[in-house]
Amino acid sequence: MNQVGSVGLIAALAFAIYGVVAGAVAGKLRSPRMLKSAQRAVLGFFVMITVAVASLEYLILTNDFHSAYVASHSSIALPLMYKIPVLWAGQEGSLLFWTWLLSIYAGIAVWMNRRKNRQLMPYVISICMGVGTFFSLITFWVANPFTQLSLVSASGTTPFTPADGNGLNPSLQFHSMVIHPPMLYLGYVGMAIPFAFAMSALMTRQLGDNWIRVTRRWTMVPWMFLGTGILLGGQWAYHVLGWGGYWAWDPVENASLLPWLAGTAFLHSVMIQEKRGMLKVWNMVLIILTFFLSIFGTFLTRSGIISSVHAFAKSDIGPWFSVFLAIIAAFSLTVLFLRLDFLKSDNRLDSIVSRESGFLFNNWILLAAVLAVLWGTIFPVISKAVENQTVTVGPPFFNRVMIPIGLLLLFLTGAGPLLAWRKTSFQSIKRNFTIPLIFAGVVGGYLFWAGIHRLYTWMSLFLCAFVIASILGEFYKGARTRMKISKENFFSAVYNLTMRNTRRYGGYIVHLGIVLLFVGFAGQAFRFETQKLMGPGDLLQAKDYLIRCEGLTSGQHANYTYETAILSVTRDGRALGEMRPQKRVYMASQEALSHIALRTNLARDLYVVLAGQDPDSGKVLIHVIINPLVQWVWIGGLVVLLGTILALFPSRVERQMDEIRKTQEEALEAHHVL
C-alpha cells in the first residue's frame, strides 16, 4: 500500500504540473480543447490524491506499523473514531490532507463553472494546480507519509515493523478534534479559489466585476469553515486543556485568525465594489493578503518556527514554504501592478458620512487587527534576529492591544448598518442613532448600577446592547415598511424581508452572532477560580456553589488508566447532581490528561478539573472555575454560521445574470445545431 500511495502522489504531481501548463496554454490560445484537457487534469489530480489518501487511511486502519507515519501516530488500542483523524494528526498526513482538500475545491470550482466563466477558468485551473504542485511536491519530496521503517545495522538495512505504534496524542482524542482540523483546513485551502479567480480576472483583463461576485461566494465558503474551525478549536481547548479558557493567543490560533480577519475585511469592502464599482485595487490587495495569510498560517502551523502549545514536530519544510510565499507575493503583486489600469473606480464618494466610508473604517480596523496579531505572532522571531533575545508575546500583550481594537470594531458593527449608502444627512443620523443609543444607555446604566465598573467589560456590554438595538431596529423598520406596502403580518414580513435580500439580512444575522460572541468574551471578566485538596467528605465553597466530595474511584480502560472524583454539587441548598472530573493516563504515551466535568447553562459554566493527586494523603486537587456566559460564545458562533449560509443565497442580480447567461447558452447551442 505504501507503493500505491507513492504512485498516487507522483501521478498527482504530474497531473498538477500538466494542469498548470495546460491551463496557461488554454488561456493564451483560448482553446476549448486545451481547456477540456486541463479540466480533466484537475480531475486526474483529484483522483490520484484520493488514491494516496485512501492508501494512507488503509495503512492506518489496518495497523500497518511498518509505515513510519502510522507507527508514530496510531496504535492498536486507538478507537476507530480516532483512527480516521490520524490522517491529519501528523505533519506528513496533514500536508497530504491539505492537498486533497485543494483537489476537491478545485474539482468543485471546475465543475460549477463548466458552463460559465470559460474565459477565466483556464487560468483558475493553472493557479490552483500551481498551488497543488507545490503541496504535492513537498508531500512527496520533503514530508512523505509513505516512508517505511527500517533498521540500520552492520549487516545492512532490514525492514522493521514495531509491535505497536506510539499512539495518537491523547489530547487530540476528543470529539471536536475530529472535525476541528478539517474545518480549519477547509478554510485555509479554500482561500486558494478566490485568489485564483482574482488573478485570472486580472490576467484575462475581465470586463467589469462579474468575477468579483464569483470570488465573493468562493471567499464566503472558506471564511465560514475557517470561523467554524477556529471556534471548534476553542471548544476543544476549553474541554481538554483544563484551564477553563478557549483562546490563549497561541501562535497557531493567531495563524488561523489572520486570514479570517483579512477575509472579513474583503467580504465587507467587496460590497462597495459590487454596488458602487469602487475600491477595485484594494479588494485585489485583500484577496491576495487573505490567500497569503492562509498559506502563511499553514506555514506557521506546520514549520514549528514559533513555539506553540500545538507541539508539532520541527521540520525542514520551512524554507520551502518561505520560497512559495515569496513566489505568491511576487507573482500576485506583479500581475496586480500590470493591470492597475483596469481597476479604475466607476464612481466617486458622495459624502464622508455614508455606508461606503463606514466600510472603509471597518477595513481600517480589521487591517489594524491583522497587523497587531501578525506583529505579535512573529515578534519573537524578529526579536531573536535583531537582539538575539528570546521574548514571549502572550495573552497580556494581545489582550491589551486587541481589546480596544475589538471594541472599535464592535461599535462599527452597530453603526455601519445605520448609515445609508452614498449619503446620510445629519438629521437621519440623529434619527437612526437615537433609539439604539438610548437602549444602550439604559442597559449600560443598569450594568453600572449592578456593579460592572471595569471599563472594557462595561464598554463591551454597552456596545453589545447598542449593536443589538441597531440591528433589531433594522429588521423592525424593514418589516414595518413591508407590512405597510404589502399588508403582511409581522412574521411573514420579517421572513420575506430576509429572503428578498439575504445578503444584507444574512449579514445582519452574522453581526448578531458576533455580538453574542462579544457577550461571551465579556463574561471572562467575571471568571472565578478556586481549588482545594479534597478527600471523601470534604467540602468546597465556590461562590454560591457548594461541592462535596463523595468518593474517589480509579480503574483501567483499554486505552488509559483513570482516577475519578465523585462530587455532589448544591447551589443555594438545591442539589444539582453529580459531577465526575477524571484524570487519565494514556498507556501508549504515558501522558496524563484531565477530563473535565462541566455543568453548563446560559448564565454560567461550572467547570471542575481533577488537577492532580497528593501522593501522601491520597487526596485529589479539585480545581473549580465559574465561567460566566461561555455558552454565548458557542451560540454566537452558530448564529454566525447560519447568517453566513443565508447570505450565500444568490442575490437578485446574480439570479438574473444567470438567466441571461443561460439564454445566451441556449442561443449559442441552437446556433450550433442549425
Binding site: G245, W375, V391, P396, R400, A592
Partner: protein, 160 residues
C-alpha cells in the same frame, strides 16, 4: 454645527481613554497577587502556556517558579520586583509579554502606529474620493425621453 464638534470631542475622548486606560488591577490577598503574576508569566517547562495554565501535573519547573514568587511575596516584594527576579533566573522569555523598553518597545508601539497610519490613510482616501457635491456628478443633459422610457421599462422587468 455645534453638535458635530461636541460629538467629535466625545469621540476623541473615547479614543484617548481606550488607548491610555489600562485595566485597574486590584491588589488583594497574596494568593490573588500570585495568581495575577502567574498570568503575566510563562511556564518555562516547555509547555508554552501561562504559568497558571501549565497542563503538567507535578511540573517541577512550575513549582520552582511558584517557590520564587512565594519567597519574594513573603519578603514583601511588589510585582515588578518579583518579575525582575524571575527574569534574572530564566531570562526575558519568562515574561508573557515583551518588556516596554529597548527594541522590545516596538512590539507595543507598532500596532498603535499602524492603527494611526491606517486612520490617516483612510481619511486621505475618503477626502480624495469625495467629489465636491452631489448634483454635478452626472452632468447629463435633460434626459432623453427614449432612454428614460427604456430604463423604466427595464426597471419594471427587474422588479418582478
Amino acid at each position: 454645527m455645534k453638535p458635530i464638534t461636541s460629538s467629535r470631542k466625545l469621540l476623541r475622548a473615547l479614543i484617548l481613554s481606550l488607548v491610555f486606560i489600562n485595566i485597574a488591577t486590584a491588589a488583594g490577598s497574596p494568593e490573588q497577587v500570585e495568581k495575577d503574576i502567574g498570568n503575566n508569566l510563562y511556564c518555562m517547562c516547555g509547555c508554552v502556556t501561562a504559568l497558571n495554565h501549565c497542563p503538567h501535573e507535578n511540573c517541577p519547573v512550575k513549582s520552582e517558579m511558584h517557590k520564587i514568587i512565594r519567597t519574594d511575596l513573603a519578603q514583601g516584594k511588589a510585582e515588578p520586583a518579583i518579575l525582575q527576579d524571575l527574569v534574572a533566573r530564566y531570562g526575558l522569555k519568562v515574561l508573557a509579554s515583551p518588556p516596554t523598553q529597548g527594541f522590545n518597545l516596538t512590539a507595543w508601539i507598532l500596532p498603535g502606529v499602524g492603527l494611526i497610519i491606517g486612520l490617516f490613510a483612510a481619511i486621505t482616501i475618503v477626502r480624495r474620493w469625495r467629489r465636491p457635491a452631489l448634483a454635478p456628478a452626472t452632468p447629463t443633459a435633460p434626459m432623453d425621453d427614449k432612454v428614460r422610457a427604456a430604463v423604466e421599462e427595464e426597471m419594471k422587468k427587474f422588479g418582478g
